[in-house]
Symmetry: C2
Subunit: 230 residues, 2 copies
DNA sequence: CATCAGCAAATTGTTGACAATCTACAGTTC
DNA sequence: GAACTGTAGATTGTCAACAATTTGCTGATG
């Protein structure tokens, strides 16, 4: 058996995961309202499959915490309260700080690659800010942080963070927050990147902490004049 | 309809979750070898149910990362390499440090309750150390850290930590590590509790960090003379 | 008129059967 | 004898039908 370059296994990923990934994207983009029930039958027919694989995918998202399952009643989209926002961003700070420490400790090629990727994202972000494309901005915002954590090279941190990122996007979309501090958005991310490349450990931690705190403030402020929250 | 205290919904949890919880416990206790395939049919008959619910539970554990799914081949118990040990304990340090910060910031009744619970666990741990009951010691070790994180009152941190705790137990069991530093085990946990109650922030962070580093050292040392690892 | 029992529709939970795929082994060919 | 091919068994993936439960409605009853 000779190894052939450029060939890869076809559709290697399990079906339930593919469905779960699609559905997660739909949910964070607001295709379902918070608290809304997910009907297995209609979802199955939309995906032109049967209820079996759909149920398996739904269980994955329940384990992830994006959906909640109630026995004999079905699965529902997670409803976010103010307390949830605080939880999510506290957890994000924990993960990002650890990723930052790992990036600084590594301090090699992978760190430089991460820096380049982050630089590119910031450039795109500035472009979209000029165009006021909120959807794109939100996506790039998350791309920045996801790339940051990915740079740490810890697959568990990454898996954890992907869920937190999805929940953050749910917050942002459901609250229809249009980045009130749009002017400092690019600046804040650039600041984090600068501190990373400068190897300024303590200030980087502080910058991450402030970034998260500000996000919580914006989201909680927005949640007060929003019918979704209690 | 009058509200009755002390009553709760009977068997409110969904089936897939119940099966997943049982199976997770079996796995971390070493009922399945790392890399071993989980046969859906035999598992279904053991639980006297059909393959449907079993598959749903398996998907949950795949999402959690304790099992890995390969298309058209089935699900297998996660194989832990040395790199995984480092990942798990780095993530645990992140979560526990954040929980510690939250506990210190709260500094109220919940913090005191957590302290009492931790004290009780340490007392039991000392008892089991005297009896050399390794299984019980490992369980109490995890109980301590789980209780610690639970005290922070962040459900997301808790959910994350439960998976990491499960993976830690897999490490400990599979490597048959019998706590080489048995004499300092109680002491180390007592030290963490003392620093928490004293409100000594920086030293508490350092103690947690050291606790995790030592665990990684013990586990990696044990993994070198073990056929499971490469 | 309020309340409650009972019924009907919809949805989830479960099951067994069938199809697709992989693995291992035997047989064949060079 | 080595390597390849083909087949048989086992296991997973998928599906449609059936059972159980919940929910909303209807109407009887005080």
């Amino acid at each position: 058996m000779t190894a052939a370059e450029g060939l890869f296994v076809l559709e290697g990923r399990p079906t339930a995961q593919l469905i779960a990934d699609q559905l997660r994207e739909q949910i964070v983009q607001g295709a379902f309202r918070p608290g809304e029930q997910i009907n297995e039958s209609v979802l199955a027919s939309q995906l032109s499959t049967s209820r079996g694989p759909v149920r398996e995918a739904l269980q994955r998202l329940c384990q992830e915490g994006i959906l909640v399952s109630r026995r004999n009643r079905g699965v529902f989209v997670l409803e976010l309260a103010i307390e949830d926002i605080r939880e999510i961003y506290a957890a994000r700070e924990a993960v990002e700080s650890t990723a930052a420490a790992a990036l600084l400790d590594a301090g090699s090629k992978s760190t430089r690659d991460t820096g380049l990727a982050l630089k590119r994202i910031i450039r795109d972000m500035a472009k979209q800010v000029a165009l006021s494309d909120w959807r794109a901005i939100a996506r790039l915002d998350m791309d920045f942080h996801t790339t940051f954590v990915a740079g740490a090279g810890n697959s568990r941190l990454m898996r954890i963070y992907e869920t937190l990122a999805a929940e953050s996007r749910m917050c942002i979309f459901n609250l229809e927050v249009s980045y009130p501090r749009i002017d400092v958005l690019v600046e804040e991310h650039q600041n984090i990147l600068d501190l990373l490349e400068a190897g300024n450990r303590e200030d980087l931690f502080k910058a991450i902490k402030r970034h998260m705190q500000k996000a919580v403030e914006d989201l909680t402020a927005a949640s007060e004049d929003n019918e979704i929250f209690a």
